[in-house]
């Protein structure tokens, strides 16, 4: 970058200086400052091993997963303006999203992004395994990563119901039907038979884990609302917190993995 002309004038304004406290990152000091002085960029170390920037080694799948998560958050937020999680409206709102809402591919980006995130997170795990990066000192972060992977699947799964079409309710019916079989806690699971005294049935379709998940005995309106809340608020919050932990631990455990 040149040291004269408009660029320089802009850099010399008080506004610019109040935001960016360092000069252009063309020397060592400023390159450190741009990373360390930026709340978003300081997730990164100031310097890292060369292998850490090589796509051939990192595959960048973790980063992409995070990016797609952000993209899903943004598109999801926008979709929420048009979507009402009730039996009367859910389907119609989805139709609206595809038929007349501006930027009609918002839902497509959200849906394909969700699938893409599942894929990237799996491949991320595959890469981490293949480079043995779960080995000490990164055991804990691997565990966090596994939980994040599960949560990613749950995010996708809870979102699957929201279009409220045949695909949605039957996929969730099949998926949530498995919860019915949870040992001791599902009404069709082993041990559920034992939890009864006379006509006092302690594990039935009215009080088992599946009921708790769906808010009803089958996939109905309460399930739609619950999945909506889980999908839009509860799981993203948990994922957000765990992502922060995950990144923090990447830094604390010695940066992106490399041979010891």
């Amino acid at each position: 970058m040149s040291d004269n002309g408009i660029a320089k004038k802009v850099r010399d304004t008080q506004v610019w200086k109040s935001i960016f406290r360092h000069g252009p990152p063309d020397n060592a000091r400023n390159r450190a400052a741009v990373i360390a002085g930026n709340v978003f960029l300081h997730l990164h170390p100031i310097k890292l091993k060369k292998s850490g920037v090589q796509l051939g080694y990192t595959w960048c799948m973790g980063g992409l997963t995070f990016f797609i998560f952000l993209a899903l958050t943004v598109t999801g937020l926008l979709l929420m303006f048009y979507y009402r999680p009730t039996a009367e409206y859910a389907f119609n709102d989805i139709v609206a999203l595809r038929e007349h809402v501006p930027l009609g591919i918002m839902r497509e980006i959200h849906r394909w992004g969700a699938h893409a995130m599942v894929i990237t997170v799996w491949i991320h795990m595959f890469r981490v395994f293949m480079t043995g990066s779960y080995k000490p000192p990164r055991e804990f972060n691997w565990g966090v990563g596994v939980i994040l992977l599960v949560l990613t699947l749950l995010l996708s799964f809870t979102g699957y119901l929201l279009p409220w079409d045949q695909l949605a309710i039957w996929a969730i019916t099949v998926g949530s039907g498995m919860a019915k079989a949870t040992p001791f806690a599902g009404n069709a699971g082993p041990g559920a038979m034992l939890a009864r005294i006379g006509d006092f049935v302690m594990v039935s379709d009215k009080n088992d884990v599946r009921f708790q998940l769906l808010g009803g005995r089958f996939v109905g309106e309460p399930a739609l609302l619950r999945f909506y809340i889980l999908h839009c608020v509860f799981i993203p919050l948990v994922v957000g917190v765990l992502i922060a932990v995950h990144f923090w631990r990447v830094r604390k455990d010695g940066g992106i993995s490399a041979p010891l």
């Binding site: 005294i197 006379g198 006092f200 049935v201 302690m202 039935s204 009215k206 009080n207």
Partner: protein
């Protein structure tokens, strides 16, 4: 404090622990509190109490059931079981052998089932393969598959056959085992049947145990698993709540506390445990309004969703006593934030209206019906729009189109000024001399208005020349005729107060002071032919002879109101008239402009203009036919949704003694509408114009019920009472019957029959009650009868009048009656009579032995008839009705003088020698015989 601290510490740890302990304690207590607060709900205590009540009831029936069991028999059975067991034990070897056989067969069956399952799968799969090959035209392949398939099928069929054989074998062995055990099995079954009721009751009693399991089930936190104490609710899809542009199905949780509302047997319990008092009509499973469909608030109103608070449900006390009680018990207060509180108990029938729209009288809703009759009496619907049931009605008041030919102008003015001064029973309400317009300056203006109205009305009145002349007759006789021919069905008459008060007729005016009111010639014309004066009148012709008409007129004209006659109405105050006109005109103009406009008119114009404006102001045209007011709407507010009108929209004025409640306002308003202006400084034109009907509190309350029912609740089509084509026709017919006040005399299917109250000593002297009339008479006959009334029961003094019915009205009435009795219009035309051998002789024998002609004497003897002419049966009655009538007349018309020849059940023949004493055959023969009579007559 600081000396104990470690270096680097701001506090000492023991102190922090102490603070932690205290805060944790507070948090812990709070948590416990949350649990308790969440757990303790008033309805839970009620449900526990209801459990105890249920237990008490079960214990009672258990006691009764135990008593029913024959203890001796039971003991016998027990010993016979013991004996049977001995016998069975002696066959132990045989039984064991059979059981082994059974086991072997069952094993074989199971193995065969597996085999069959496999070959069934093979057959299906091969079948699919064959079909696919065939479908793809791979003929060779298909043939091969078909051959394989045939083989597999054969195998499969063989397997099935084997299984069937095993099954048959199993059946035989089982039968054998049962046979070997028969002594025990049959007795055991007998015993089980005997003790069944007790066993079930014991089980029921167990469900009311307050046991440890009960406690665990309903414990805090655990009570999500399978609680027995829980909120019960009904979702009513047929009635909705309005939730901001959305209609949401209503949810009623009333049954959470009213636990036995749908269960008979708890009628004597205290509330909320009492059974619904009309289980056969409401709430009951078999009733027309089952609980699960209709719910509670659909009829009763109130906030069905609430459960935690007696008050928030919007229970409404029915009396001050109850209110006082509730205030003490529940801290009851007026539910201000609830748009539609419950109807008070005595107003519950208001709840019928929203679903049963369109019909005037709803069977079973007594108070509501009386309220609606009162509305009809006072003609509220003239000024107010009141919903479907009042649509397309005639105007409640008499036509004024030819008024000049009936009464004179002076009488008219005094009448309008104060109707009650002439007739204390007047239905015409008082517009003037009310508490809000009695100030001298208002009286002056009012009088000008009345003068102007009279001028206008008489100006527009068409000439009328009576078509009869009055000849003075016998007043006493006239009075007698009035009391006998049926005038009292519609009119109250002075001098006949006792009878009139019983009937409480309201269709026509109370007849008093006619001598001071009408011209004698007019009266006679009117009596002889009412439609001559007013074409569309509902007043019928009684087919009076000249003498009768004159006698009646003489009596009526003898009734005079001297004080009223003496009244003279003040001359038109032109200044007041001009003031009013200026006032009217200044609405769109400056005062001076208005003055100038008025000044331009001549005197006559001014008077007529004010007359017209005043008629428009007071809405006279709403009740009376008047020229110049076509297309004018009623002046009163629309009452279609009055029952949902927010309480804030009711102006209570300064009437602080009236509770701020919808029904209280309406009751007060109906009794003295002018009260809201009292104590308030209002200008003349803004005064409340609702006139005073001087109605009693009882009437006001009934009307209030009818009005409260008109709510804004949206009832989806599925919830509205639907009428099939027949019921629609019946309703239409009844509307015509209502218009002509048929029920002033006739009781139709149990409704009204007002005049019958005068015939309490002998109901058979009154107008005939019409029960399933459409079944009784033939349609053709009925139609003919309406046009040409002929006396059927000549011994009766009361007469069926000749109504001025239009063709459409006649048809509607006939169709209505027919359909009300579920009869097709032209069903059962006159029957061809064909006799079986010897049947006619039997009929004649019966005819003679019952001596029918002793009452049905017309055409047979010269005796005075006490029963209708039997020669008319063929053209008048339906044979099927005649049979029903003969079988049991009391079932149709209780109290009829027609004897029940065939016993109370219609099965006991008097003469067992005829037709082997078969009552039905006898009835049939008699019916044929009377029909034949009519045929021979022709």
């Amino acid at each position: 404090m600081s000396e104990n601290k470690e270096p680097g510490m701001a506090y000492n740890m023991p102190k922090l622990h102490k603070v932690m302990a205290i805060l944790s304690f507070i948090l812990f207590v709070t948590t416990v509190w949350v649990f308790l607060d969440d757990y303790i709900r008033p309805w839970k205590a009620i449900q526990v109490e209801s459990l105890q009540i249920k237990r008490r009831h079960i214990e009672e029936s258990l006691k009764a059931a135990t008593k029913e069991i024959d203890a001796k028999k039971l003991a016998e059975l027990k010993t016979s079981i013991a004996k049977g067991e001995e016998i069975v034990a002696s066959r132990k070897k045989a039984i064991d052998a059979s059981e082994n056989d059974l086991k072997a067969v069952l094993t074989k069956m199971k193995a065969q089932t597996i085999k069959n399952g496999v070959s069934n799968g093979d057959v299906s799969a091969m079948n699919f393969q064959y079909e696919t090959a065939k479908g793809h035209h791979e003929e060779k392949e298909a043939e091969k598959k078909l051959a394989e398939l045939a083989k597999l099928k054969e195998e499969f069929n063989q397997g099935k056959d084997n299984l069937k054989a095993f099954q048959a074998e199993e059946k035989i062995i089982r039968a054998k085992i049962a046979d070997l055990n028969k002594e025990v099995i049959s007795t055991q079954k007998e015993m089980k049947d005997m003790t069944m009721k007790v066993t079930l009751l014991e089980a029921a009693k167990k469900t009311t145990d307050i046991s440890p399991i009960f406690a665990i089930r309903n414990m805090p936190f655990v009570d999500y698993l399978d609680p027995t104490i829980k909120i019960q609710q009904i979702v009513i899809n047929d009635v909705t709540d309005d939730r901001y542009f959305r209609q949401v199905p209503r949810v009623d949780r009333c049954i959470t506390c009213h636990t036995f509302i749908d269960q008979p047997g708890y009628e004597k319990e205290k509330q909320p445990f009492r059974t619904h008092p009309k289980l056969d009509l409401m709430v009951g499973m078999e009733s027309k309004h089952p609980m699960k469909v209709t719910g509670c608030t659909s009829c009763h109103g109130g906030e069905g969703q609430r459960t935690n608070d007696f008050v928030s449900v919007a229970h409404m006390p029915d009396s001050e006593k109850q209110e006082h009680e509730w205030v003490q018990k529940y801290g009851w207060k007026e539910p201000h934030h609830i748009p539609n509180p419950m109807f008070r108990l005595s107003q519950t029938e208001a709840g019928c209206v929203k679903c049963h729209s369109g019909v005037e009288l709803i069977k079973g809703a007594t108070v509501l019906n009386e309220g609606r009759m009162a509305i009809e009496k006072y003609g509220c619907y003239g000024c107010h729009t009141m919903g479907a049931w009042t649509e397309n009605r005639r105007k409640p008041g008499p036509s004024l189109l030819k008024i000049a030919g009936k009464v004179d102008k002076e009488w008219f003015k005094s009448w309008v000024w104060e109707p009650r001064s002439f007739n204390k029973h007047s239905k015409m309400p008082a517009f003037f001399r009310q508490s809000n317009n009695s100030k001298p300056e208002f009286v002056r203006l009012n009088m000008a208005e009345v003068n102007a109205i009279a001028e206008y009305v008489y100006d527009k009145s068409k000439p009328y020349i009576p078509n009869e002349k009055f000849h003075p007759g016998n007043a006493e006789n006239g009075k007698k005729i009035i009391s006998q021919v049926g005038c009292l069905g519609c009119h109250g008459v002075e001098g006949l107060e006792e009878q009139s008060d019983k009937v409480k007729a309201y269709a026509g005016p109370w007849l008093t002071g006619l001598g001071s009111k009408v011209q004698p010639d007019w009266l006679v014309s009117w009596l002889k032919k009412p439609s001559h004066y007013q074409e569309d009148t509902i007043m019928p012709s009684m087919r009076l002879s000249d003498q009768e008409a004159n006698d009646i007129a003489t009596y009526l004209l003898s009734l005079r109101n001297k004080t009223f006659e003496a009244l003279t109405f003040a001359k038109l105050d032109t200044k007041a008239r001009d003031e009013l006109l200026v006032d009217y005109n200044s609405a769109f103009d400056t005062h001076n402009g208005a003055m100038a406009k008025v000044a331009k008119m001549n005197d006559r114009e001014k008077t007529l203009d004010l007359g017209k404006r005043s008629i428009g102001k007071y809405g006279c045209y709403s009740c009376h036919n008047l020229e110049g007011f076509d297309g004018y709407a009623g002046i009163g507010p629309n009452l279609v949704k009055e029952g949902s009108k927010p309480i804030t929209q009711f102006g209570f004025g300064l009437q602080h003694q009236i509770p701020q409640e919808r029904d209280k306002w309406i009751i007060a308003h109906l009794q003295r509408p002018s009260r809201w202006d009292e104590g308030i400084d209002k200008v003349f034109k803004d005064l409340n114009k609702m006139p005073n009907f001087y109605m009693s509190e009882a009437e006001a309350k009934k009307i209030t019920v009818a009005i409260l029912g008109q709510v804004s609740d949206v009832v989806p089509l599925s919830g509205i009472k639907k009428y099939d084509a027949g019921e629609e026709l019946y309703n239409k017919g009844m509307k015509v019957a209502g218009k002509y006040n048929c029920m002033g005399c006739h009781q139709i299917d149990g409704l009204r029959g007002d005049i019958l109250r005068n015939y309490a000593d002998d109901i058979n002297q009154g107008p005939p009650r019409l029960v399933n009339e459409g079944h009784r008479v033939q349609a053709n006959w009925m139609y003919h009868f309406f046009g040409n009334v002929e006396p059927i029961r000549p011994w009766l003094q009361i007469r069926m009048p000749s109504f001025n019915l239009s063709l459409a009205e006649k048809n509607a009435l006939v169709a209505g009656f027919q359909n009300g009795a579920h009869q097709g219009n032209f069903e059962e035309p006159e029957m061809e009579v064909s006799w079986a051998p010897g049947e006619r002789e039997g009929a004649v024998k019966l005819w003679n032995s019952y001596n029918c002609v002793s009452c049905h004497s017309i055409g047979f003897t010269k005796d005075v008839a006490q029963a209708p002419n039997l020669h008319n049966v063929a053209k008048r009655l339906r044979p099927s009705w005649v049979r029903k009538w003969l079988k049991n007349p009391q079932a149709i018309l209780p109290g009829t003088i027609m004897p029940s020849f065939f016993g109370d059940d219609g099965n006991v023949p008097v003469d067992p020698s005829i037709f082997e004493g078969n009552a039905d055959k006898q009835i049939d023969a008699l019916t044929k015989y009377v029909i034949e009579l009519g045929k021979n007559q022709k």
